[in-house]
């Protein structure tokens, strides 16, 4: 009689222990929330957009799905959905939110000031209110800076060097990110360089066609693309349009020249995204995001597409060729 009771008791104990063990192993793996702009597709959730980051994690020894769980929410290429996606991530909940652009980082920061956010910022995080200083951010945001704003003037200078005698530059700007200082930086730089700017506001990819045809009519000498997520994902279209309307194009990312834009001057975006993995690693090991300094870029790549240059009949000066870090032929 009592043997039966012992058996039942043993069974119950074993079940409880197994349940606790299972619960422990699953509950212990930290969750990383990826705030994606375009989509969450990939072998690993968000692996497409965040490929360098995931590679960085793997290099540090993490196994997605085993030692860490990666959650991803996408804004579907809509700025107003960034906040929604960020809020979803916070709800899950995740131990750290990772994003690869300043608008995403800002949206996440608006949603939470407790969950650590590791992000790429475009320029001055202090001015953007995301951190108190580069050396000691202080809040829940840290990451790497892209220098997008600082380099704006340099990009215009390169454009001027490429096309000596240029007087007017048409600028593609997305009003959805008007709060970012790119437009102002460009205007100031243009003033110093003696160039006139014409701002073309483009909100949706469909409007690009229109913008370029307008530019052609206005005899644009060059088009300067301001940093923006929508533009970033429309690289091919912009390059094709620039080629179609025979306008030299200058962008802020190397992937533009790879798909046909004439020139770009950029920090190493992939390296920075990979660096974010290091921040996530430190945070998961207990560091406070406010104590991790925001890194600034160390290397910048000047990239020139010689095929496009030839197609547009642009003679690239020797000094620029010497200076260029990547030549696409």
């Amino acid at each position: 009689m009592w043997q039966k009771q012992i058996c039942i008791l043993a069974l119950v104990l074993v079940t409880i222990l197994a349940d606790r063990a299972a619960g422990q192993s699953a509950g212990q793996a930290p969750r990383i929330g990826l705030l994606a702009w375009s989509s969450c597709e990939g072998d690993v959730p968000g692996g497409g957009e965040f490929d360098p980051f995931v590679r960085g994690l793997v290099e540090l020894g993490y196994k997605p799905g085993e030692s860490i769980i990666i959650e991803c929410r996408s804004a579907g290429r809509r700025y107003d959905h960034l906040a929604v996606a960020a809020a979803e991530l916070v709800q899950i909940p995740v131990d750290v939110i990772v994003s690869s652009s300043e608008p995403a980082g800002r949206s996440a920061h608006r949603v939470t000031d407790k969950v650590p956010i590791v992000t790429i910022v475009s320029g001055d995080p202090v001015a953007a209110g995301l951190a108190q200083s580069l050396a000691k951010p202080g809040g829940n945001v840290t990451g790497a800076s892209y220098y997008a704003t600082e380099l704006t003037a340099k990009r215009l200078e390169f454009l001027q060097e490429l096309l000596p005698g240029i007087t007017t530059v048409d600028v593609l700007s997305n009003p959805d990110v008007a709060y970012l200082p790119f437009e102002n930086d460009a205007k100031q730089a243009a003033g110093r360089l003696g160039i006139t700017l014409r701002i073309r506001l483009v909100r949706k990819p469909e409007e690009l066609d229109n913008a370029f045809s307008t530019m052609e009519l206005a005899r644009a000498q060059a088009v300067f693309v301001l940093p923006d997520l929508m533009f970033a994902w429309e690289g091919e279209r912009i390059a094709a349009l620039a080629l179609k309307y025979r306008v030299p194009s200058m962008a802020w990312g190397t992937w533009f020249t790879e798909v046909g834009c004439l020139m770009s001057y950029s920090a190493r975006y992939d390296e920075m995204q990979q660096r974010l993995a290091f921040y996530v690693d430190r945070i998961l090991k207990g560091a406070k995001p406010g104590d991790l300094p925001i890194e600034q870029p160390t290397t910048f790549d000047l990239s020139i597409n010689l095929k496009t240059a030839k197609a547009l009949g642009v003679q690239v000066p020797e000094t620029l060729l010497l200076r260029a870090d990547k030549i696409v032929e």
């Binding site: 050396a135 340099k154 200078e157 160390t298 910048f300 200076r323 870090d325």
Partner: protein, 577 residues
């Protein structure tokens, strides 16, 4: 005499002494050896560690030095040409080339001989061509002019990024000076690739003690932290004090590490290499553990061996102890068996011999004791001294037999009180006994008041007849004294003696422990009849005794009497005393 039987307290048992001696010998040697090993091993390892760390530091410093030299070399190319007219393009190309070759250079400014800035190219800022800015007062320009390669102090851009100004002057004044801004973050790649052991690493401090390169770049980007700088300066001072040997200290993260440092040539920077103490000392700890384990094993083995050996050595001694105990308590048949073939075996054999002899001696004592029952003490002693108890053995001897008893004892004992009877007998035997002892005769038996005494057996004596007769006279006088007293108490008692001499068989008769020494023969009967026939105060002797007495003792013939058991009448003589 009582023997003190309390066992002697074993204050220091032999077993314990042996065990301790054996164990201590082995263990002391082991421990001494182990400690020696450990000490010297530690010293050697420490020295090796020092050497390794210092060489790592030197190598790291060399790598940093090469990095800086690389930059210097590239900058050197930009001050090859003099600033003659028309050379702006070439200068521009060489400056851009330097930018291309050295990612660490953020900007280059070319200054001509007059100190005016001719060219400024930057990766981030807008370029300047022939700005004409007078940079004579710039410490970089002045420095380069004096020491051909000038390194500025480290500063933090934006409070976070470490930068340094480097200025290189051409080999002639006309070539001017190149002033470059160097992003020191690129030293990070050099530093992070430096591995010390498995988990050790290197880092670089500038003169004020700020970390300018560290595998964990966030430590660098924290900017100038006075607390950390002060701690770092302390570390540097410690290392300077130790005059180059590696020191054991706590690093910035609070971990205990072994540290060494080496200077970077050209700039006043120090490269520190650190290795966690646990890793650095791992071989030492392993060796110590090994030694400890061996010591333990050795000590245990020594203990077991010592125990076993001591047991073996003390076992014979214990056997001796037990044996002596047993023998001492009377078990003389116990034999101690020790077969070790050494002195202990000899001792055991001696003990055994002693036990055997004790057994023999005990037997003899018993026999002598038995002798004393029959013989007068003096005779017994004589026999004992002679060591011959064969006196009691059965033989044929010419003996003198004396019988005596109290006249009227039967009647007396019929109506006297038992206490009086015993009292009378007690006095009687006291008197008789004293006489027998005095004359060294042998009391063979007594029953009630009748006593039989033998002379000339078991120990022969000279003139036994005379001795017996004199003894009888002595008896009479002694007992008559008692008779007088008894008569005063109205005991009607008398005393008579009969003595006969002749051959008899003497020896012990009886069975087991109930054995008596006696004589068998007609002489005994005769003596008994003579005694029965004697009246109070009378001593009757037979013809043989009378003849033996001769003239020595007065005696008178009392005629012939017929005795039961004898066919013829015998002449009986009485002793005159």
């Amino acid at each position: 005499m009582t023997i003190d039987d309390t066992p002697v307290q074993l204050r220091r048992s032999l077993f314990r002494k042996y065990f301790t001696a054996l164990f201590a010998t082995v263990v002391v040697l082991l421990v001494a050896n182990g400690i020696g090993d450990a000490w010297f091993g530690y010293r050697d390892q420490r020295a090796m560690l020092d050497a390794v760390l210092r060489s790592e530091a030197a190598s790291a410093a060399a790598q940093i030095g090469s990095f800086l030299d690389g930059i210097k070399d590239q900058l050197g190319w930009t001050v090859q040409q003099a600033w003659d007219a028309g050379t702006e393009g070439q200068h521009r190309l060489s400056a851009l080339g330097a930018l291309r070759q050295v990612p660490a250079i953020i900007s280059i400014a070319l200054i001509d001989a007059a100190g005016s800035e001719r060219l400024f190219v930057s990766r981030v800022e807008l370029n300047r061509m022939a700005s004409g800015v007078d940079r004579t007062a710039d410490p970089a320009v002045a420095g380069a002019r004096s020491v051909s390669t000038w390194y500025g102090p480290v500063r933090y851009s934006g409070g976070s990024e470490p930068f340094m100004t480097m200025a290189v002057a051409g080999n002639r004044k006309a070539a001017g000076v190149a002033v470059a801004e160097i992003n020191l973050k690129l030293i990070w790649e050099v530093i992070s690739s430096i591995r010390v052991g498995q988990t050790g690493h290197a880092f670089v401090l500038d003169q004020p003690g700020r970390i300018i390169a560290h595998p964990d770049i966030s430590l660098v980007l924290r900017g100038a932290d006075e607390q950390i700088s002060a701690a770092m300066r302390r570390l540097r001072d410690e290392l300077v004090e130790s005059s180059g040997r590696a020191i054991t200290t706590e690093n910035a993260a609070g971990k205990t590490v072994v540290m060494a440092m080496a200077p970077v040539r050209g700039v006043d920077w120090m490269v520190f290499v650190e290795q966690p103490l646990s890793e650095a000392f791992a071989p030492i700890y392993r060796a110590l553990w090994r030694t400890g384990a061996l010591l333990l094993v050795g000590a245990t083995s020594a203990a077991m061996l010592a125990y076993w050996l001591a047991r073996r050595m003390t076992r014979p001694i214990r056997k001796l102890e037990e044996g002596a105990d047993r023998i001492g308590s009377g078990r003389f048949d116990h034999r101690i068996v020790i077969a070790t073939g050494d002195e202990l075996e000899q001792l055991a054999n001696r003990f055994n011999r002693m036990a055997g002899e004790l057994a023999i001696s005990q037997e003899r004592s018993e026999r002598i004791a038995r002798l004393k029952r029959f013989l007068a003490p003096q005779v017994a002693e004589l026999v004992e001294k002679a060591g011959d108890d064969g006196v009691l053995s059965g033989q044929r001897a010419e003996v003198v037999v004396l019988f005596c008893d109290l006249r009227g004892f039967t009647a007396f004992s019929a109506h006297a009180k038992p206490e009086d009877i015993i009292q009378v007998l007690g006095d009687y035997y006291k008197a008789i006994g004293a006489t027998i002892t005095k004359f060294e005769a042998t009391l063979t038996s007594f029953s009630g008041d009748g006593v039989m005494v033998l002379v000339n057996a078991p120990v022969p004596c000279p003139e036994p007849a005379i001795r017996a007769t004199e003894m009888a006279i002595d008896m009479q006088s002694a007992v008559q004294g008692l008779v007088t007293r008894w008569n005063s108490r109205r005991y009607q008692l008398g005393f008579g003696v009969g003595i006969a001499m002749g051959p008899a068989a003497v020896g012990q008769i009886g069975y087991e422990s109930r054995v008596e020494y006696t004589a068998i023969g007609s002489v005994v009967n005769l003596a008994a009849r003579l005694c029965a026939s004697a009246e109070d105060k009378q001593i009757l002797v037979d013809a043989v005794v009378a003849q033996a007495l001769g003239d020595k003792v007065l005696h008178v013939a009392l005629g012939a009497r017929r005795f039961k058991g004898y066919d013829e009448q015998m002449t009986v003589y009485g002793i005159r005393y």
